[in-house]
Subunit: 155 residues, 2 copies
């Protein structure tokens, strides 16, 4: 993971949603290597929280005035990092891009590797974590309008 | 491209939308190599049309009862293949996955390679094509509820 994006925010965040209308233009985000995109700034929010650690976020589609009903983000979890254990009404789609990681969803545990695609249904308690030695990067698709996650205990 | 999925439907299709409620379950679509996923059937629709050619589709998220406001599909265009030149009110997000291809959108032409991400705004005339020697594979994200494309002339 790039140092400058080392810690930003958790996967199921509710922060930094589109703030009013910006330009809704056709635009290419050219892949610049090392899991970064030209025109997409790494997002930094806060140091490691109590219930999550070592997650970086890049919003590819969602905060530049796009009118699509969905947002596309790329997250990266450093080794030993993890997202909050939480639930919400909105669905998630996770697509493995870099390395591998684990997603706990409901009573199951899924290993996510390159292009593995996980649909997480509404109100399914879930958590993503990296128990491996390389960064775990994935796309996470969500509805543009979505409810705030509830953090759960017990993990 | 696998022979059995060689021709199915165009990118901006309106066919085979979710047909009533099925089960809305958390589910992993394990990547099975060769740009195929376990549990995802290649879709075949019709032989080459007048305005499109050599496109295969796999619907990862969208026709198994998922309630997300978006659908995720993987398309592959064989060398010399192309989608309809068309427009519609709904947005597209295209993410390059396999090989490379060209997307004409508005007055511009974009080369799409691995992880390049293109947002196409509403009502932007567009066409995807493969002018290269290897298959061109990409994810295409769309709103679950979307309008029917209008086919355009002139390309």
């Amino acid at each position: 993971m790039n140092e400058h994006v080392k810690q930003s925010n958790l996967c199921c965040d509710f922060v930094n949603r589109a703030k009013g209308k910006k330009d809704n233009k056709t635009r290419l985000y050219r892949y610049a290597g090392n899991f970064s995109w030209k025109g997409v700034k790494p997002e930094r929010y806060k140091p490691a929280g109590k219930d999550w650690s070592d997650i970086a976020r890049q919003t590819l589609i969602g905060n530049r005035g796009e009118t699509s009903k969905f947002h596309l983000r790329y997250f990266e979890i450093a080794p030993e990092g993890y997202s909050s254990f939480e639930m919400h009404k909105h669905e998630h789609v996770v697509i493995g891009i870099r390395g591998k990681g684990i997603c706990i969803a409901g009573k199951k545990e899924y290993r996510i590797s390159f292009l593995d695609t996980l649909y997480i249904k509404p109100n399914e308690p879930h958590q993503l974590k990296n128990t491996f030695k390389e960064p775990f990067g994935f796309f996470c698709l969500v509805n543009a309008r979505r409810d705030r996650p509830k953090t759960l205990k017990g993990r």
